[in-house]
């Protein structure tokens, strides 16, 4: 550990909502402890470091970089490579960096259709000249380069080498703290591990009483008043808990909201959506194909339901273009 013996810590926010930044701030008084053990050398959200400052650091200068957000633009990707080079440990922090998360659902579309919808067709758009983002723009001062908006959202791990993955949308503060402690103590798990989460699924932490499953009808959450003692899945509400890594403390189901799956797939599952889909469909109580078809056809938006947080990280990554 260099100089003052403090860690050199960087934080970066790529394509994400900012919730992960808030989650760090949510450490509250513990932030003061962070300050005791670490020097923050890059945190655009809270401190005034420039990219050029980072570029000037020697390679591997930062001990740890917590990178949140997916790779939506060429700028995101550029920073991913840069921070990789400048950090000893690169952590994909939060669901966006880990698996694409909500921004990743844009993978159902491509650049052109997104631009069209957002800049031209949306109800609030006032764009008579039909301007859409360009990668270069001529200013009086000269030509400026604007980051390219990619067709496909990627995860951090898909563009660069990542040391650890910290899931959650956002990661929960006790988990963040546990990871920081582990880093400070140097007690690190093998590279590539998912940290700050459990090996079992959300069900393991869930208070709802589960029974054998047999589902005749699926309900969207607003269509039914859920019995707050019984498993939501058993009641026909699609809950991603069974196919989602625990660690969050079953926050959502605690208040009878079905799990959406933000902690990503459990350790042995390659494709969270397929796994949840298999479980959901297998317990449909149908004795004929027609009946099964009728019951499952009530599930709206399968990708949005089963891959809400993991589309870019899934086997197929995106819808076909």
């Amino acid at each position: 550990m260099p100089g003052n013996g403090k860690l050199k810590l960087g934080l970066y926010w790529a394509a994400s909502c900012g919730g992960c930044e808030i989650a760090v701030v949510e450490l509250r008084e513990k932030l003061l402890i962070v300050d005791q053990v670490a020097d923050i050398v890059f945190w655009p959200c809270a401190t005034d470091f420039k990219y050029k400052d980072v570029e000037a650091y020697p390679d591997g200068y930062m001990d740890v970089c917590l990178f949140n957000g997916a790779i939506r633009t060429s700028e995101n990707e550029h920073l991913a490579h840069l921070l990789r080079k400048k950090s000893k440990v690169l952590v994909a922090f939060g669901s966006c960096a880990y698996e694409g998360c909500i921004p990743g659902l844009a993978n159902l579309f491509d650049r052109e259709s997104i631009f069209r919808r957002v800049y031209l067709e949306s109800e609030s758009a006032d764009n008579p000249n039909k301007v859409v983002p360009q990668t270069a723009y001529h200013m009086p001062e000269g030509e400026i380069e604007i980051p390219k908006f990619y067709n496909t959202v990627k995860t951090l791990g898909q563009v660069t080498d990542v040391d650890y993955f910290l899931p959650g949308c956002p990661p929960q503060d006790p988990q963040i703290w546990a990871v920081i402690e582990a880093i400070v103590s140097g007690n690190l798990p093998p590279k590539g591990s998912v940290v700050g989460a459990n090996e079992k699924t959300v069900c393991d932490e869930c208070k709802h009483v589960r029974e054998e499953k047999k589902i005749k009808k699926f309900y969207r959450y607003h269509e039914i008043i859920a019995d707050s003692t019984r498993c939501l899945f058993d009641q026909g509400i699609i809950c991603a808990g069974p196919a989602t890594r625990g660690g969050c403390g079953a926050l959502c189901t605690k208040v009878d909201i079905p799990c959406r799956g933000c902690y990503g797939p459990p350790p042995n599952v390659v494709d969270q959506g397929a796994s949840l889909l298999a479980a959901v469909a297998s317990v449909v109580d149908a004795d004929t194909e027609e009946e099964a078809r009728r019951i499952v056809s009530e599930i709206p938006d399968p990708i949005g339901t089963f891959y809400r947080f993991s589309l870019p990280a899934s086997l197929l990554h995106r819808a076909r273009r």
């Binding site: 159902l108 650049r111 390219k148 990619y150 067709n151 496909t152 390659v270 494709d271 959506g273 397929a274 796994s275 889909l277 298999a278 959901v280 469909a281 297998s282 449909v284 149908a286 004795d287 004929t288 194909e289 099964a292 078809r293 499952v296 056809s297 599930i299 938006d301 399968p302 990708i303 089963f306 899934s314 086997l315 197929l316 990554h317 995106r318 819808a319 076909r320 273009r321």
Partner: protein, 147 residues
């Protein structure tokens, strides 16, 4: 896969050991005409077919996927593994559709051990159907650095 520049579809078939695999075996032993485009992966029962296998096959480069097992209601060697299949596959169809994969690239159904000719016919017809749809080449969807 190309053969003298001509598109040759690659098809992965997941077959249950007791019905369609037997039919495929009989079709082979009986020298029934089948295109070489279909590669078979044997599982004990269609109930074993995790939807992830279908996605994996497409992700790896398959142009079409077949799932086939024992006729419901009661032909399944394990009583009702095929029930789980007919509960899962309609949802898989919905999913594939949303992924933009044409329905014609995914076939699931039933062929009993006694229906070798039906298997041979399915491989012929399905191969032609996928050939018409052209290459899927899923890896290309994601490979380009620029995008």
């Amino acid at each position: 896969m190309s053969n003298n520049g001509k598109f040759e579809p690659r098809i992965v078939a997941f077959l249950c050991n007791w019905c369609t695999y037997t039919a495929a075996d009989t079709a082979g032993v009986s020298r029934m005409k089948q295109p070489p485009n279909v590669d078979i992966i044997r599982v004990m029962c269609t109930g074993r077919i995790d939807p992830v296998f279908v996605l994996k096959a497409f992700a790896e480069g398959a142009d079409g996927v077949i799932i086939s097992g024992c006729h419901p209601p009661g032909d399944c060697h394990y009583t009702n593994g095929n029930y789980k299949t007919f509960r899962r596959m309609p949802l898989v169809e919905m999913l594939l559709q949303q992924y933009g994969i044409e329905p014609g690239r995914f076939h699931w159904g039933w062929i009993s051990g006694a229906e070798a000719p039906k298997w041979a016919e399915l491989t012929r017809e399905f191969t032609e159907q996928v050939r018409k749809l052209g290459p899927l080449n899923w890896k290309k969807q994601f490979a380009s650095k620029e995008d």
